[in-house]
């Protein structure tokens, strides 16, 4: 996406704005910027390449409006899990139970709405609460009793899977009420005059663009106010153009089909919210601190146990959300739902730049990692690659991504 913009040298006038490296030309600036932030941009570029490759191989089918819409729907729950998993991994832990918990919540939701006719909004709230409780029980064992997260959540994986089967008595339950189904499959409603596009989606895309641009400009202004170094103007403009182009592309694609899926809005809110928390909230900083160096964080007054506990509580709640979305999308809760989801979420986090030893990673990285896997899945499906080879290729993608990361770190390190 942004790579296309990057490639064009754009014979822009060598910035009068000054800036430290303005004389090197825009291309030089871009390359320098990339080199310095290889870790951040590497995966984004890889994602762009994968998208481009599959777009070519599928004769453009990958980027058909309907498929893009599908891509979002298919991957939403892994992305939701990946966000939570990223937090867990940054904190220096792992959570193997989320796949089973996803299934368990799906079953719970089915028992509530299908068997007991509980209204769906109540069921959603109850499910989220139960998920948070499940997460916090594991968090309690891990944070306060000191049981390694690998073991505690391995136990959770078995327990929740078993409880799912007990709940469902081996059967598949469905269908779900309409409202709940919309969570997994629904689109934003359409209003206004008939255009060839989905009006609300267009407006929404426009709003996102305006907000992003305003945020970036305000950020830059504040930096200047504090007389801190800012990125050269050329590079800044290029970044804005790239972001606008990307958002616009996705918006147009979605708008020319049924519009934005509801789950995309939820996902968007999660990304923005968690991204903000991880970057700007004291809580987020504390997660990085305990993952990066636990003893140092303790001696800095960070309440490490509480932070760990909350991270797992949060993971439980997000797993519940993912469970609801999966169940809603399949319109059924089955005993084998959510199988291997924990592995996909973990893979997403690592592809997106997390480190096994903790302390590193971003929410956006988790999303990018999840999308890499998602696009691979979807693209290979379109190409008719069997699930056997799909797994092989996804495994190699994980290895390649982390291998690149390690190589890159070694090169820049000592």
């Amino acid at each position: 996406m942004s790579t296309d913009v990057t490639k064009s040298p754009a014979a822009a006038p060598p910035g009068k704005s000054g800036g430290p490296a303005a004389d090197g030309g825009l291309l030089q600036l871009v390359l320098d910027g990339l080199r310095r932030n290889m870790r951040q941009y590497g995966m984004l570029i890889a994602l762009g390449l994968i998208v481009a490759l599959f777009a070519v191989w599928t004769d453009g089918d990958l980027l058909l409006p309907r498929n893009v819409s599908n891509l979002v729907l298919q991957n939403s729950y892994v992305l939701i899990l990946a966000i939570g998993m990223m937090l867990v991994i940054i904190a220096g832990h792992i959570d193997l139970s989320v796949g089973s918990l996803t299934a368990f919540i799906g079953a719970f939701a089915a028992v509530l709405t299908v068997q007991h006719d509980v209204s769906w909004p109540v069921a959603v709230v109850l499910c989220l609460i139960v998920g948070a409780i499940a997460g916090s029980v594991q968090g309690f064992f891990i944070a306060y009793l000191g049981i390694p997260s690998f073991i505690a959540t391995l136990a959770g994986m078995l327990i929740f899977r078993g409880m799912t089967e007990i709940f469902l008595e081996g059967q598949t339950l469905g269908p779900f009420p309409d409202g709940l189904q919309k969570m997994g499959n629904g689109f934003l409603p359409e209003v206004g005059p008939t255009t060839n596009y989905h009006n609300i989606t267009l407006l929404l895309g426009l709003a996102v663009i305006v907000m992003v641009v305003l945020q970036e400009v305000r950020d830059r202004k504040r930096q200047q106010e504090f007389s801190l170094d800012v990125v050269p103007r050329n590079l800044f403009l290029l970044k804005i153009v790239a972001i606008v182009a990307a958002v616009l592309t996705v918006t147009m694609l979605l708008a020319s089909y049924k519009g934005a899926p509801i789950i995309l809005l939820v996902l968007g809110a999660l990304v923005v919210g968690y991204g903000y928390i991880m970057r700007n909230a004291v809580f987020g900083r504390h997660i990085y601190a305990i993952g990066g160096n636990l003893p140092a964080a303790k001696l800095s007054g960070v309440k490490d146990k509480k932070v760990t506990f909350l991270v797992f509580l949060n993971m439980g709640a997000l797993a519940a959300l993912a469970g609801l979305v999966v169940a809603a999308r399949l319109n059924a809760a089955g005993p084998k739902a959510g199988l291997n989801f924990e592995l996909e979420a973990i893979a997403s986090a690592f592809i997106g730049g997390a480190s096994m030893s903790g302390g590193v990673g971003t929410v956006l990285g988790a999303i990018i990692g999840g999308l890499v896997l998602g696009v691979l899945n979807n693209g290979m499906n379109l190409l008719g690659v069997g699930s056997d080879w799909q797994q092989v290729i996804k495994g190699m993608a994980l290895l390649a991504a982390v291998g690149f990361d390690v190589w890159n770190k070694r090169k820049s390190g000592s």
């Binding site: 801190l228 601190a289 960070v302």
Partner: protein
Amino acid sequence: MAGPVLEMRSIVKTFPGVKALSDVTLTVRQGEVHAICGENGAGKSTLMKVLSGVHPHGTYEGEILFEGETVSFKDIRASEQRGIVIIHQELALVPYLSLAENIFLGNEHATRGLINWNDTLRHASELLRRVGLSDHPETRVADIGVGKQQLVEIAKALSKKVKLLILDEPTAALNDEDSDKLLDLILELKKQGITAIIISHKLNEIRKVADSVTIIRDGQSIETLDVKSAETNEDRIISGMVGRDLDNRFPERTPHEAESGAAPALEIRNWTVHHPIDQQRKVVDDVSVQVRRGEIVGIAGLMGAGRTELAMSVFGRSYGRHAGGTVLKDGKEIRTKTVAEAVGHGIAYVTEDRKHYGLNLIDTINRNISLTALDKVAKRGIVDEHEERQVSEGYRKSMNIKAPTVFEPVGKLSGGNQQKVVLSKWIFAGPDVLILDEPTRGIDVGAKYEIYTVIDQLAAQGKAVVFISSELPELLGMCDRIYTMAAGRLTGEFPRAEATQEVLMRQMTKDKEVSR
């Protein structure tokens, strides 16, 4: 004089963006102990990595001659085969394997992949005897002290038929007794014909064991001195290292006049702490100390005297089991059961082990500085990144932290600069009392002076400073009053005027045997 066993000629080593070594020439004679000294970041470790093949041939310029022939090592194994063995500052032993297993790790006595235990154990005990250890070769490494572990490393080197032994700050983590043992061993090995290169900050140590010393500064070899010659003294070496005459190693300080009226800023009464595992053992035994505002109070003690344990247990019970005693701040008793409480009462503890307890090495200078007092740059739980950046930029400039921006990972900084980050972090927390635990350990002379200046300023601003150190000259140079500790007990208290190295050392070694 014997001829050279090692010659490194005009070594140049460049990392992306940095020239670590710009022109180093080093000549080591057969059978001598050759010291290398220089400030942190001067290039000593890089030079040794070039020599031992960590940086393989082809990644540097220049020539290395070993035993008269040009060598080009492609990895550590290649250099070890020639008999060059390096022992790093951080020991490379596996804690849960036995001494014997560690000694022959990667080099096992085995036939067709199966270990021959008889040979291994017999050979291991021979090697252990050679380095003066009588422990059984099946003892686990985790069960012996750091001093002995260092000796095991040497035994391991001996097993590789070492001809040239390189020791990177071997005594940095050892107490005086263990250091002496180690240095004696180096001299003993010298008699057996093993040449040694020793990287060290401790000038008295260099005087004791080394025959010659090469000084490295800013990636260049400055000069090689004969240690035994009359004109080689500490000042000469120090001025070679920093490139200037250092007639005054400590900032000018007007000793504090104790205002007898006000209550001490911090008073610790009858503090007793038990060992976290061995709960019969008193690590800190009935210690009472106090410090006033504007005062710098030293706590002198050898390693294992209980200084760090005292400080850490007061600071949020971060060590051991508290068994009694109270803490008073400005005359009022306070609770310091958690770190947050201690920080809340205006106490800061700057650890002796910045890498493990002080910093998040993979995170930026910026975020390390703000961590303890995030609330100061946050509103309702949300950090104002611009304000945060401004704060840390301020510290980068005022503390002279050498880094291009505050977004540099702390792990990439040199020891001295890391220490400045830790200090900034705790100064930003705005404490009234700072407990500094070995604040100048493992950092170069130039940075030390800067840190002394900061400490002096803190006292001048009315902060109470507790200065824990085992380096007596710095305590004598900086403190208004000095306590001595030995084996967990307070053994003396001296005003600046009465304290001398000899007096302090006598108290620091007092009762040590009796209490064992």
